[in-house]
């Protein structure tokens, strides 16, 4: 799962791109991030909370001796908190050489996407999530929401 560091900036991201997305589930929806950004995926980790941090900062995790900030993606996307008793899955992404982790419900496949299936987010999408979702890929029977990683970790 670990992939070399990516230096591509998010400026060209909003346009439709073909390629591979690592997908995950969050509150019933399917999301995807560019596979190049993903360093690794981990089981739930012990979190150290950070008082006074923005609400989306779930805490710090110990990634083999490296301290990595964990962003609660549910909070970030304005979704309800994860139900009690379910563990989050940690996706470690690497941006500009810095590792940041995203807490999601569960991890899914790596999906090949085609630019022709891409569509900008619907106008009805509300403010907070709209910022972070580049658009949707129309897959068979479901929508894959493309997450703008840069913005998502910019909590």
């Amino acid at each position: 799962m670990s992939v070399a560091t990516d230096t591509r900036s998010s400026k060209d991201a909003p346009s439709a791109t073909s390629g591979q997305l690592a997908t995950f589930r969050l509150d019933g929806d399917l999301y995807g991030v560019e596979v190049e950004h993903v360093q690794e995926v981990l089981k739930s980790q012990g979190l150290t909370r950070v008082p006074l941090a923005p609400p989306a900062v779930a805490g710090l995790i110990n990634l083999r001796g490296q301290v990595v900030t964990a962003i609660e993606l549910r909070e970030r996307l304005g979704r309800p908190p994860r139900p009690e008793g379910t563990d989050a899955v940690v996706i470690v992404v690497r941006l500009h050489g810095e590792a940041v982790s995203l807490l999601v419900d569960s991890i899914a496949d790596v999906v090949d996407v085609d630019a022709k299936d891409f569509e900008a987010p619907p106008d009805t999408l509300d403010g907070q999530a709209r910022e972070l979702i580049r658009g949707a890929y129309k897959l068979d029977g479901k929508l894959l929401l493309a997450l703008d990683v840069q913005k998502a970790v910019g909590a």
Binding site: R49, V50, R64, G65
Partner: protein
């Protein structure tokens, strides 16, 4: 061309190092103009560069070094006196050489650096020397200009004929010396150059003969010296005609002899160093350091896991892993340590140039230049330190007239001091200049709106001085003129704080200013106190920690008072403002038993108590950067991974203080200072007996209360009522067992009891401890008031927290009547202290 590139690269690295040395030497030379040793060292450096540059065909470099070398050889031979003007010219030459080297480094060529001006300047500087030198120097000057490139070549051209005389010593010497840089370059230059300038050499052939005798007596001298002689002809060619007394070629030969010997030993030393060290890319060290950090953490996990296993082989292997990992960590850290001299060595030049520029005479004194710290930190301190030094020369030290008027010596002194102090490096930049007037700073601060008049009134002079570090004070010329300080001091402070250090300034108007930097030894690993607050652990760097105070519920209820709603604690009589970490962090404390644990912290000259739930440990932590989202909170300086793998945030004490504290009042500050002095003198005097009482606890007993140390067999302990006594020298001594008295329950009864006998006013008691450990000075001890039954508090003695025994309470536990006057004695029936006993016990 690869081979050549390597040579050029080596030449560049070597030359840059040599030039740094040269700066230092030249400035030092000004202090002791007659030091032949230094002159020779400078001469050798320039000579080496010249030789190599000739070989590598850097003509301008060769030209300029050659002229410089001429001047140096004359200075060394005493023909010229070293004047400030000449030093300046030489320093300029060094700069030009550096510029040339930089150009070579960047483009592979000498670029557009112009050397003719400086060549002319050096020539001119040679001319305005002592009268005798005037007629002599004009011709050499022109000769010097034209001949430089040919000097070694010419020598080489002669070589075919004179080879036995000249080359042989050169070669054997070179062999004997090994490949010292100094020897190698000239030898090559001489060897490779021969063909080209044969005709020029031929033209000047008549001048050669007088030179030949010179090498012969110096045959056992190293090659370098031979080359010096080779260089000499250029001067001598022309000089011969003008000043005959200069001509005798034996003269230089004799002169050089001792230096030749000096060069040999020097060369050998250099080789020893060169052979035993290698250059390593700092990036490589950085990544090694990271890996070792991870190794240590993995080691911790393995050791923790293995502790639960029963396989002895596995346990042994893990112990070995443990040990090796620690040693490896230490070793890697050491590779990154460098003496502070690396950055100091540039400062004499800075001070000299700036001094001249400002028309001030400044002497630089350095102390502790061998003090080592991490390379990264060294780099980080370089600029702030240079800034402080410039500030001191520019604004701190007065002009000579002003100094004389103030009754000080005309020459100002700038002190640089570095030392290790409790796991930190303390660097001081001190001057004996005009000092800073708090009143002026304060007035300016109010004027600039940095603080209010109201706030200023409440500040102590010491606090006012720290205002120069506020951003509002920088870049404003008007402030600089009045205050004398302040340009970019906020930048200095920011830089120092960014590496986990602190800075403070002290000043006595009229007497001088001291800036004190406290820098952690290494960035990567910091000693810290781990505390718990609302169930989470936090690390507090030891650099800001002064002491710990623990209050039990009963005491806390009365000891923590309020001043207008703000909680304070009376710490040895002074009010210590308290900051509750839970409140700062917006959490709820999990401690509900009423106990209060206070970490006394110091930030920017102010003290405050941070109330935490409990103190966990002191440990060395590996500092990890936190992401941008957390930096902006401004309360954490980083995070670390603790031994058990959990992440702990590192509190930024400065930020915490700024967030939570208002300025303290002046008078409180003053009383506090006075109390601190008093406390210091009190602790200084005491010598302590250290004793173990079981459970790893250590107790300190003031030595002046100890009369004698004894060993008592267990069976000799008898019972009187419910008390234990022992017969001792014909008397009966009541016993207090310190472990029971202090609630520590050590091992089972021992055969032999260690006893401390205390006598006063004819009465004695025996204090039983587990083991007598040591006698230490209570000096420099960190004291705290962690109070418990029978204790006065605790202190750090010999790196360990030690409890201070309340001797009086301990004795009263054994003999409640002890302090009653002997006349009133034996009121306690259970204590058999017949009137006859005291006398005999007096001898104890």
């Amino acid at each position: 061309m690869d081979g050549l590139d390597d040579i050029v690269e080596e030449f560049l690295v070597e030359s840059h190092e040599n030039l740094d040395q040269l700066d230092t030497d030249l400035v030092a030379l000004e202090q002791e103009p007659n030091s032949r040793e230094r002159l020779s060292s400078i001469f050798r450096t320039i000579h080496t560069i010249k030789g190599t540059s000739g070989f590598l065909a850097f003509n301008r470099l060769e030209e300029i070094t050659h002229v410089g070398e001429n001047m140096l050889s004359r200075l060394r031979d005493g023909e010229l006196a070293l004047t400030p003007a000449r030093t300046s010219v030489l320093l300029q030459m060094v700069d030009t050489v550096r510029a040339l080297l930089t150009s070579i480094e960047a483009s592979g060529g000498e670029g557009s650096v112009n050397v003719s001006a400086i060549v002319a300047a050096i020539t001119a500087a040679m001319e305005d020397g002592p009268a005798a030198a005037v007629p002599a120097s004009a011709p050499p000057a022109t000769a010097a200009k034209k001949a430089p490139a040919k000097a070694p070549a010419k020598a080489a051209a002669k070589a075919p004929v004179k080879a036995p005389a000249k080359k042989a010593p050169a070669k054997t010497a070179a062999k004997a010396q090994g490949k010292t840089a100094a020897a190698k370059a000239p030898a090559k230059a001489a060897a490779k150059a021969p063909a080209k300038p044969a005709r020029t050499a031929a033209k000047k052939a008549p001048a050669a003969p007088p030179v030949i005798p010179a090498p012969r007596p110096a045959a056992e001298a190293p090659v370098e010296e031979v080359d010096e002689v080779l260089a000499a002809p250029v001067d001598e060619l022309a000089a011969e005609t003008a000043t005959p007394q200069e001509a005798p070629a034996t003269d230089p030969g004799e002169h050089h002899e001792p230096e030749g010997a000096g060069a040999t030993t020097d060369g050998q030393q250099r080789r020893a160093v060169a052979d035993s060290t290698i250059r390593v890319d700092v990036d490589l060290l950085d990544s090694l350091m990271l890996l070792v950090g991870e190794l240590v953490l993995t080691r911790n996990q393995i050791v923790q896991n293995v502790a639960r296993q029963t396989d002895t082989d596995l346990i042994r292997a893990s112990q070995r892993l443990n040990l090796i990992a620690s040693e490896l960590q230490e070793g890697v850290m050491k590779t990154r340590m460098q003496p502070i001299d690396h950055i100091w060595s540039k400062l004499p030049r800075v001070v000299r140039d700036l001094g001249l520029q400002c028309g001030k005479s400044v002497r630089l004194e350095m102390e502790g230049r061998e003090t080592e710290l991490d390379k990264t930190l060294l780099e980080a301190v370089k600029d702030p330190l240079t800034h402080l030094v410039r500030n001191s020369v520019d604004h701190g030290i007065e002009a000579p007239e002003a100094r004389r008027a103030a009754g000080k010596p005309a020459e100002g002194v700038l002190f640089l001091r570095a030392k290790h102090e409790s796991g930190q490096v303390v660097v001081e930049v001190a001057d004996d200049g005009a000092g800073i007037d708090p009143a002026k700073i304060g007035a300016k601060a109010v004027e600039r709106g940095v603080i209010t008049q109201e706030a200023l009134r409440r500040m102590s002079p010491q606090d006012i001085l720290q205002l120069i570090f506020l951003p509002g004070f920088s870049t404003a010329a008007a402030v600089t003129n009045v205050s004398g300080r302040g340009v970019g001091m906020d930048v200095v402070k920011t830089n120092i704080e960014s590496i986990g250090g602190t800075i403070e300034v002290e000043s006595q108007p009229g007497e001088g200013t001291t800036c004190r930097l406290r820098i952690p030894l290494t960035l990567a690993i910091v000693p810290a106190l781990t505390v718990e607050c609302a169930g989470d652990r936090y690390a507090i760097p030891q650099i800001s920690l002064q002491e710990l105070v623990a209050l039990d519920a009963e005491k806390a209820a009365t000891a923590v008072e309020e001043v207008g709603g703000a909680p304070v604690y009376r710490l040895r009589g002074d009010l210590l403002p308290l900051v509750r970490l839970t409140e700062v962090l917006g959490l709820t404390s999990e401690r509900d038993d009423g106990h209060v644990v206070i970490a006394v912290l110091r930030s920017e000259g102010r003290r405050f108590g941070l109330v935490v739930d409990r103190v966990i440990n002191t440990e060395e932590i590996v500092v990890k950067a936190v992401g941008g989202q957390l930096k902006s909170i401004g309360l954490y300086s980083g995070a670390t991974v603790l031994g058990d793998g959990t992440v702990a945030l590192i509190l930024d004490v400065q930020a915490l203080a700024r967030r939570a504290l208002r300025t303290e009042t002046t008078d409180r500050h003053e009383t506090r200072e006075a109390a601190a002095t008093a406390a210091a003198t009190e602790t200084e005097r005491q010598r302590m007996l250290l004793a173990a009482i079981g459970e790893g606890r250590r107790v300190a007993i003031p030595l002046d209360t100890v009369t004698r140390l004894e060993q008592v067999r267990r069976e000799s302990v008898e019972k009187v009522g419910n008390r234990e006594v022992v017969q001792y020298r014909g008397a009966i001594l009541p016993i207090v067992r310190l472990d029971r008295h202090l609630g520590a329950y050590g091992q089972a009864e021992r055969e032999v009891l260690e006893v401390i006998v205390y006598s006063d006013h004819g009465r004695s008691v025996a204090i039983v401890v587990e083991e007598i450990l040591d006698i230490v000075d209570g000096e420099a001890a960190v004291r705290s008031d962690i109070d418990d039954m029978g204790l006065l508090g605790s202190a750090v003695l010999g790196d360990k927290v030690t409890e201070l025994l309340d001797v009086r309470a301990a004795i009263l536990a054994a003999d409640p009547a002890f302090y009653d006057s002997p006349a009133l004695g034996s009121t306690e029936p259970a204590l058999p202290t017949p009137s006859g006993v005291p006398d005999s016990l007096l001898e104890v």
